[in-house]
């Protein structure tokens, strides 16, 4: 049985913000790789919807909302066209990819966790799924573009930690009955800010001995 623990409209707004941000990151990476308009659209769609489709299949939300709600599928298209015409100079794109990816990360870990809770997943599984929804799209984007996922790359600033943080806060809020549109927005903002701070100050996770 599916119960909405958060106003469905708020859920959808969060989803679409995350989708738009991730789509921008995917489209920008495609431009940097000199893909054509079709490649730009495909990378935007896959980055934006990949994590959500995986989450929906795992929790049993079939067909995934990406294939039943046209705004989910259409939003990345808009982002791709916008990037095609108004992208920054190629040299500056990497910063933009990381920025929009951070927004998508933070918003999605909250939206993904809420949806998992709606479908009756346990709190620990919710944290795992929320984080997976947030980092999955970016990982698929990087693999398709021929790169090691930023998630794993040793040079990368912490990536999964902000996502896990956001999802954990949502699980905590839900357990204590304090999950509201305001508190979930704050959780998303927190995750985004932690990731952006990590990018700004070079926060990295420890390496195993011998790796330096």
């Amino acid at each position: 049985m599916v119960t909405a623990i958060l106003n469905p409209l708020v859920q959808e707004v969060l989803d679409l913000i995350g989708i738009f941000a991730f789509a921008l990151s995917g489209a920008l990476l495609a431009v940097r790789k000199r893909f054509d308009i079709v490649g730009i659209v495909v990378l935007a769609e896959v980055t934006a919807l990949g994590g959500g489709v995986f989450r929906d299949l795992v929790i049993g939300a079939v067909p995934p909302v990406a294939f039943t709600d046209l705004s989910y599928f259409g939003t990345p298209l808009i982002a791709a066209v916008a990037v095609f015409f108004w992208h920054p100079r190629l040299a500056r794109i990497r910063r933009f990819v990381l920025f929009f990816d951070a927004i998508g990360l933070g918003v999605f870990c909250v939206a993904g966790s809420v949806k998992a809770l709606n479908y009756g997943m346990e709190p620990w599984a919710t944290i795992a799924l929320g984080a997976a929804t947030a980092i999955g799209g970016g990982a698929i984007r990087d693999v398709l573009a021929g790169e090691i996922p930023a998630l794993l790359h040793p040079e990368s600033e912490i990536y999964a930690v902000p996502a896990l943080l956001g999802s954990a806060i949502v699980a905590l809020l839900a357990i204590t009955g304090t999950l509201t549109p305001i508190t979930s927005a704050i959780a998303a903002l927190l995750a985004v800010v932690v990731r952006l701070l990590a990018l700004r100050y070079g926060w990295r996770a420890p390496l195993a001995r011998g790796s330096l």
Copy 2:
């Protein structure tokens, strides 16, 4: 509720033609990469069935037909063995990979769309899924073989466009009640021909500014 909008036998024939063609493309690429017989079989199976398994999971056709109908799983095996013994000289393989991939592309976008419609997906989602079924297997094949998917590669001739075209035609035929074995075969042929013409005449999609 699942309704067959096209004669199920025609559906299966289309599916198997697409599976055989994609399996040939996967097996040939494996030979060119000097994989052994097992790698050839695996790449043939994954290329041939990957898109369909994804589509079936999304529309809720579980278990995917690839795991319930032995002809779906056995056909790529035949293709792989045939390629193992009778493949062209390595230098000429690339053209054959592209040729069989074009056939699989055109046939699958039609077969995939029809199946999505059977399961009640809306027309826009059907077009997206039909195209995804057609391009998915080839993308997985390229990633496993260590290449950037032809779908995205800037040097590639238009790839997703013929798939979207075939799927869109099927959606249109279904809406107007004119979907028959003949018209769906024509749609598949059209998609195959557009892709082959694109290969022949070098039709490419536009790049974003600064990419040239």
Copy 3:
């Protein structure tokens, strides 16, 4: 309808042994690639759970057990932390990756086949799925780490064959009504031993002509 053809406790023990082994292989590869602790944990989790999640989605076991049983998700975490603190010198890691990967391979092809049979899959599909469960996690691990899957690499000793062997034995045991904890453990051991012998004696599958 789901029937347990093998004692569920034995099933779970087999699953967790395979999960732990695959997690070790993933964590070790991550250390060798100099990923940080987060990358080590992620690669351990994905390698350990990837094949099982795919299998569960295909047979309709939703949500996949990886997201409903905390021991499935927690075991790779333990393996990752253990590797982070106690890994061998980087130069010797490759042998350990291959060793633990062999254990995971043998155990998973049996555990995966049994679960597929529980869900009513036919014997041929069970063999395919058992093998897919066993080789899937390793393939995802290699792709995420930026390598061509060992499964496909021409230099690799036979990889899918031991997995298919183990799955086939399980299917045979099930059909003849002789599947017990003892016989399934023997099947797993056999698959592991075949893979380890292949590594030891360099057993490779034949290449297509012109590939040498």
